[in-house]
């Protein structure tokens, strides 16, 4: 293969796989993130580095069994760091493994990472000697990857947040409760416990420790252990009411007690912590599940927005508003949770909303953009498309949305965005379908009109010009033939125009029923006279039940239906065949059945013959517009009835029209039967028949 060709193929390959033009661009930079407040600085540095190199970057956190976040604060700090990285555009990864250094390097190699940023450790040499230094391991095994080690500095702004957390966590009440319970235990033991052995009494003091660790966490439980030992020493170990210990063996007991208490406390508090986390995850999962279930069920945008707002506002415990662009492209509040909505319409809010809508990034409280705003703005985006903005109004400006809450809100907003996108797409698809349908109709209409109008017009013009032309003298038979051709052509055009007008009237919603009480037989009679001329030698047999009650219909329209159906029956059946028109009452319906012995309709077309401009395959060479049955269907459905086609055996079609039956009004004061038997010679005066 020559070089040129190979280059072309390579270009094509790169193009088709969306590979950027130069290979080095796919080299990445990675930053190792931990819960440490210094991680933020590492992240920022890496971001700058990646930006100047114009490469992608990864923020990674390695979770090992030993390095599970120890406390709530630590977990939140970690989440916050990872989120910060995400905000700056990093691909965030959390991996689990036994050896941090190995995991980091493996990931780096997999991801084509050429530079790793890692924080300089601040733990002591002893710790390092005991646990081994992750950094050293990474450096030792890095080979081709360059490692940047950075000395961390505390970022003041971010720290404020965690001070708030720690103050919140440093509550005094657990210590009071622990102190009180130890005191109570001591009193109880003093009263009832003298019969116990001292060793057992020591065991009793483990209760507050356990209670404290499960209930309040590790601090209070250590405190419980401490004052437990003191109380035990003071009140029970001889000499009583003194901290001095006479028997030195008790010192060992104290030590054992403290070790046991500490171990129990740390285990129990870890357990408590895990339980808390599991519960929180469960809550998040169930929230997401609930919302996603609601979202999949709705097809109406308004309804969807309502349940989104409700769900998010309940989850966050704050007011929520959704801004969507109006038809003119202007953003306005489309849905909001109950309460005062002033905040959402103020000018600064609107500016932020527009910014978020344009940039597709989170803004407001605690974020990179306007971090001290009392509101948080999330773009509702799927892929590159931004559908709107979701705003959360925090009641208090000092309140901070915790990173895991933030994660939940993000999940909820992306779910909402997906729903909005789905509903929008659905609507677009509907519109597209309608457009296609109307396009199809228009084409069919044009075809139909041009063909159906031109054919008779051609025969008329042809015949007339022949007759006008003075050169040829027709004998009277030919003359008559030409004239009847003209008449038939004109009649056909008239029928077409009536059908088109009828369809237009129906389509434009101008079909108004002028219902009146009618005798079916009467309507059938009128329809029969209408089709009489086209019958030739066909016979229409009537089987109308005597007992059929009067029906409330628009007689002109029902007659049109019967004429259309009968015309079809005549058109598609051979001469000299029989067409049966029967009518009967069937379960509160009047059924009019018209059965012919014509060409019939194939089973797969039985339903489609009622759609506009549809002509059956077998009907292609018989003139027609495909409007007749469509009009029938509209008219019958306007009457609350149905029309359907079935096959006749052995051949032909059966059209069944069903119209609901309503009880006719009673004839007042008029006994027809009685009057009916009166002989007419009783007509004494002219006025007998008047009322």
């Amino acid at each position: 293969m020559d070089q040129k060709l190979r280059n072309v193929q390579l270009n094509e390959y790169m193009h088709s796989n969306k590979i950027p033009d130069s290979w080095p661009a796919s080299e990445k930079v990675m930053v190792c993130v931990s819960a440490s407040p210094f991680s933020k600085q590492l992240i920022r540095t890496t971001w700058q580095m990646a930006a100047s190199l114009k490469v992608e970057w990864i923020a990674v956190y390695v979770e090992t069994p030993r390095r599970l976040p120890k406390s709530e604060e630590e977990r939140l700090a970690l989440l916050s760091n990872l989120q910060f990285a995400e905000e700056l555009g990093a691909t965030v990864m959390t991996i689990t493994g036994n050896n941090v250094a190995d995991e980091i390097l493996e990931l780096a190699r997999n991801q084509n990472v050429k530079q790793i940023v890692i924080g300089k450790p601040r733990y002591s040499r002893i710790w390092e000697w005991m646990h081994g230094s992750v950094v050293n391991q990474v450096i030792r095994n890095s080979h081709e990857i360059s490692i940047h080690m950075i000395q961390g500095q505390v970022e003041s702004r971010r720290d404020k947040k965690y001070i708030i957390f720690s103050i919140e966590n440093l509550k005094w009440s657990p210590y009071f409760i622990i102190t009180a319970s130890v005191a109570l235990l001591t009193i109880l033991l003093k009263i009832f416990g003298l019969s116990f052995d001292l060793v057992n009494i020591a065991l009793f003091y483990l209760f507050p420790v356990l209670f404290g660790s499960v209930r309040f966490g590790i601090g209070p439980s250590f405190y419980a252990a401490g004052i437990g030992v003191l109380a035990f020493d003071f009140f029970f170990v001889p000499p009583v009411y003194s901290f001095t210990v006479s028997d030195l063996r008790y010192v060992i007991s104290f030590a054992v007690f403290l070790v046991v208490a500490t171990l129990t406390a740390s285990l129990a508090s870890r357990l408590r912590h895990q339980l808390h986390e599991v519960r929180q995850r469960e809550a998040i999962t169930s929230t997401l599940y609930a919302l996603s279930r609601q979202m999949t069920a709705v097809t109406d945008l308004k309804e969807a927005l309502k349940s989104m707002v409700r769900q998010i506002s309940e989850t966050v415990g704050a007011q929520v508003a959704i801004y969507l662009p109006s038809e003119t492209g202007e953003l306005r509040i489309t849905e909001f949770s109950s309460g005062d909505l002033n905040w959402g319409q103020r000018e600064p809010s609107m500016v932020l909303v527009k910014w978020v809508y344009r940039n597709g990034e989170i803004a407001g409280n605690g974020t990179q953009t306007l971090h001290n705003s009392p509101e948080l703005y999330f773009p509702l985006k799927t892929g590159d498309q931004i559908h709107g903005v979701l705003a959360i109004h925090l009641k208090n400006e000092d309140l901070v949305v915790t990173p895991d809450r933030m994660q939940l809100i993000k999940a909820l907003t992306s779910l909402s965005a997906m729903t909005i996108a789905r509903i929008k797409l659905q609507e677009e698809a509907k519109v597209a379908h309608l457009t296609a349908e109307s396009e199809r109709l228009r084409t069919a209409l044009l075809d139909s009109i041009s063909h159906e109008l031109r054919t008779p017009l051609a025969t008329i013009i042809g015949s007339v010009t022949a007759l006008i032309d003075g050169d040829v003298v027709f004998n009277s038979k030919d003359r008559q033939e030409l004239l009847s051709t003209i008449r038939e052509g004109a009649m056909r055009m008239d029928r077409l125009i009536s059908n088109l007008l009828g369809m237009v009237r129906i389509e434009s919603g101008m079909l108004r029923l002028r219902k009146a009480w009618c005798d079916l037989e009467d309507i059938v009679g009128v329809a029969l006279t209408q089709v009489k001329d086209s019958l030739q030698n066909r016979v229409i047999r009537l089987e109308i039940e005597e007992s059929i009650p009067p029906i409330e219909v628009d007689d002109v329209l029902l007659e049109q239906v019967l004429v259309n159906v009968l015309s079809n029956a005549i058109k598609y059946s051979p001469d000299e065949s029989e067409i049966v028109l029967s009518a009967k009452e069937n379960k509160n319906m009047i059924e009019i059945i018209i059965a012919d012995k014509g060409v019939g309709i194939p089973p797969h077309e039985l339903e489609r013959v009622f759609s506009k401009f549809y002509r059956g395959e077998s009907a292609k060479n018989i003139p027609g517009t495909g409007l007749g049955l469509a009009i029938c269907k509209e008219i019958i459905e306007a009457h609350g009835g149905t029309i359907r086609a079935t096959e006749n055996s052995p051949n032909g079609t059966i059209i069944t029209v069903s119209i609901p039956l309503i009880d006719p009004p009673l004839l007042q004061n008029e006994n027809l039967q009685e009057e009916g038997v009166k002989p007419h010679d009783e007509f004494g005066s002219k006025n007998t028949g008047y009322r």
């Binding site: 002028r514 037989e521 309507i523 059938v524 009067p550 007659e559 009057e675 009322r691």
Partner: protein, 231 residues
Amino acid sequence: MTSSGAKILVIDDEPQIQKLLRVTLQARGFEIVEASSGEDGILQAAMVRPDLIVLDLGLPDIPGMEVLQRIHEWTQIPIIVLTAKDREEDKISALDSGADDYVTKPFGMGELLARIRVALRHNAKSQDEPILKFGRLVIDLAGRTVELDGEKIKLTPTEYELLKILATNAGRVMTHKQLLQQVWGGHQYDSNSHYLRVYIGHLRKKIETDSARPNFIITEPGIGYRFMANT
């Protein structure tokens, strides 16, 4: 038939229709006067005193209905209205305001001629003929009896009254309203329109051979009934 030589005023703005009517009606021996607008029509009606007026309801200057009413203010000249299809309301209101009959465009010349003849005859004939004969059906107005094929048939007073009104107006369309007014006495015709259908049904059963294919009493859908004179 003495219709030949009668003077007919055609009020229509369409030159094509004018030409068609002029040629065909003149060929039948009628004298034709033309007017191409409503105002012109009203003027001509007063000046030439036609025996019959053919009036198109869709005129450019004033509504056909108004022309009809203004002519009827001073004369009882029979008027036949030309209307478009599917305009049942127009037909009914024209008939109820005194038009003699209607013809729907597009129309066959035979149909129009039949209407013209009926209207002219109706106008000429006073109602003093005591016996009406329609082929097999004979109505003796003086004796209040009805015979079919020479046999007397039993009719209730209402049925007889209905038949009498239809027969004396043979060939002409009678609207539901007209029939109800004349048989039941002029009020409540909306609530009573159902009676009419019932009585027509009864009448048909008594005088028609096949009530689904009537020969005497023909339904004009949405408008009323017509008693066929030439059966």
